[in-house]
Amino acid sequence: MKSILTCQGITKNYGAGDIIEKVLKPVDLEFFEGQASVLIGPSGSGKTTLLSILGCLLAPSEGQLLIAEQGVNFSDKSSLTEVRRQKLGFIFQHAQLLPFLTIEENLAIVGRNAGLDETDIKQRLDNLLQRLELRAMRYKHPNQLSGGQRQRVAIARALLHRPSIVLADEPTAALDWQTGKTVVELLLEQARLEKAVLVVVTHDTRMLPLFDRILSIADGLLSEQQQTATTDNTFYTQS
């Protein structure tokens, strides 16, 4: 399988001098094309920090992040924006759709920002809205949609510009269990169809069987759980 996203000794510390908080202990990880991973852990364990680093939104204190074997330069904000624009798709806890745009406009501006031509945007938009059963919502505004529908739109928005990596931060937190499960199943299905790396942060352990990999984080220390095993293995982390 093709390696898409690699973490090499990534750490994150906050503070300075004697008061340093190690939020993330050295992380070595590799994500492959079409692979769906779930990241779990208690609040404050470092999940969002890791997701922010993977999403090129936060610079690590040490280590290197590689996307398609290319090192990410965290000191250059413009190149980080370019990486996010071209290679990353995001799904946020509350969908974060722009309330003043229609669903179609919410999706189209992402395509335009990524440099897709109008024909391509229209095709992708039609295709994703159909796949996610959102065609009837096309001209509605986000406040006219249910929570589940909004997250389906967020999935479409994350995938529209064909990113190689999709990161989701607790996409089901604001949904009931059944709606949340449906959203995650759709997300997995669409990400696999697009052969994108998918990393989902969640608190809901009932979702775990749906993913290829389960990553667990506690006190900044990352470990990988076997789907069938009950004990943790620290394959990719070093203390």
């Binding site: 997701l51 939104l57 990486v83 309330p99 003043f100 406009e105």
Partner: protein, 378 residues
């Protein structure tokens, strides 16, 4: 990317229609306030240089240190002949300006500014709506402006009143000859004026008005007149108009007050704009963070804010400009008209738009400080 900027900026603005309308209205009123002050200034400038500019002459000869046309002092009448004899001068006549009392038919006394004119009426009213200009040369006959009818207590040709204790009969009504000093202009012949104005001797006038020969250098003729005619000051029409305007606008402080009010108007507009734009940006700060996280460049977000300030400012200015032109039209025949020129209007619009753009600075600063990682914190 322009389509993204336009779509996001306009939809973000129009999302809250009431605030959008209120902001445009606020900017329109602020612009109108500033434009009205500037219009008042232009109107005053035009008013206090109108007689000079409409006289149709090239050179004005006057007593030294004359600060404005209204305060001309006596010079000997023989200066007219002296000016005529200067090389390059084709024509010269006299003009007299004096301040006296007019007795209103109801008994009250008001101060008027008498303008005594020579044979060809240079310096006289340029638009007559009733009567004949030549009637001024009839004994005890005067022409007044229609705007002064009420102040003088006259309503038609043939009406008469007392001026400095002597009878004065109305021979005609002019139009758009406004007074800056609140004292109505009374046009008559020099001969008549000398009978009314007690402090002028029969051989005295206030100004010599001259025209130069075609293809002659006006400045050279001005300097020659100044050299050859003693105890006078010589100015071109443009110079005298500027001096008169400067006196009333700057030396009396009237103009400064108007300019300060106009600048305050623009500042109020800029503050309204800045506050609203900042509030809109703050309301949407989460959305901006989302856009940053999704890979939109800071530059694009700044363009969105700038597009919003130009949209709000542009619409406010258009509405304000319409109100201003309506006010100019409505005040055209009033004693205090709002007037403008293409240059003044263009400058005002450009300055107001610049204020609007500058007012987006706080919003752009907020965007600069924005950390896209905040999108993960709700």
């Amino acid at each position: 990317m322009a389509s993204v900027v336009i779509a996001v900026s306009t939809k973000m603005l129009s999302h809250n229609r009431m605030r959008f309308v209120m902001t445009v209205t606020g900017i329109a009123i602020a612009f109108f306030l500033a434009a009205a002050q500037i219009g008042l200034l232009v109107g005053w400038v035009n008013t206090n240089s109108a007689i000079i500019n409409n006289a149709g002459v090239d050179i004005w000869v006057m007593a030294k240190e004359t600060r404005t046309i209204d305060y001309g002092t006596a010079i000997p009448r023989q200066r007219i002949q002296q000016v005529r004899s200067v090389e390059g001068v084709s024509w010269a006549e006299g003009m007299l300006v004096g301040w006296i009392n007019w007795q209103h038919p109801e008994g009250k006394n008001i101060t008027v500014e008498v303008i005594g004119l020579d044979t060809s009426n240079a310096g006289g009213p340029w638009k007559l709506i009733e009567g004949n200009l030549e009637s001024m040369h009839l004994p005890k006959t005067v022409i007044v402006d229609e705007l002064s009818k009420n102040a003088l207590g006259v309503s038609q040709i043939g009406d008469s009143a007392e001026m400095q204790g002597k009878r004065a009969t109305i021979g005609g009504f002019s139009q758009e000859v406004r007074t800056f000093t609140a004292a109505p202009f009374i046009f008559t012949s020099i001969k008549n004026a000398l009978e009314y104005v007690p402090y002028y001797r029969d051989d005295e006038i206030s100004y010599v008005l001259a025209r130069i020969k075609p293809n002659t250098d006006i400045l050279a003729v001005r300097d020659r007149v100044a050299d050859e005619v003693s105890n006078v000051e010589v100015l071109t029409t443009a110079e005298f108009a500027v001096r008169s305007v400067k006196y009333w606008m700057l030396e009396t402080g009237v103009g400064i007050t108007v300019i300060i009010t106009a600048v305050l108007g623009l500042l109020v507009g800029a503050v309204i704009m800045s506050q609203t734009l900042f509030a809109i940006t703050q309301d949407h700060i989460g959305n901006y963070a989302t856009l940053l996280a999704l890979g939109f460049h800071q530059k694009t977000l700044r363009q969105i804010v700038l597009a919003q300030s130009i949209t709000l400012g542009g619409l406010g200015i258009i509405v304000g400009l319409i109100l201003f032109f309506l006010a100019c039209n409505a005040s055209a025949r009033s004693p205090i008209p709002l007037e403008t020129t293409t240059t003044v209007t263009t400058g005002l619009v450009a300055f107001s738009l610049l204020c609007c753009i500058a007012s987006s600075w706080f919003s752009i600063r907020a965007i600069f400080k924005l950390d896209p990682v905040s999108v993960f914190h709700g």
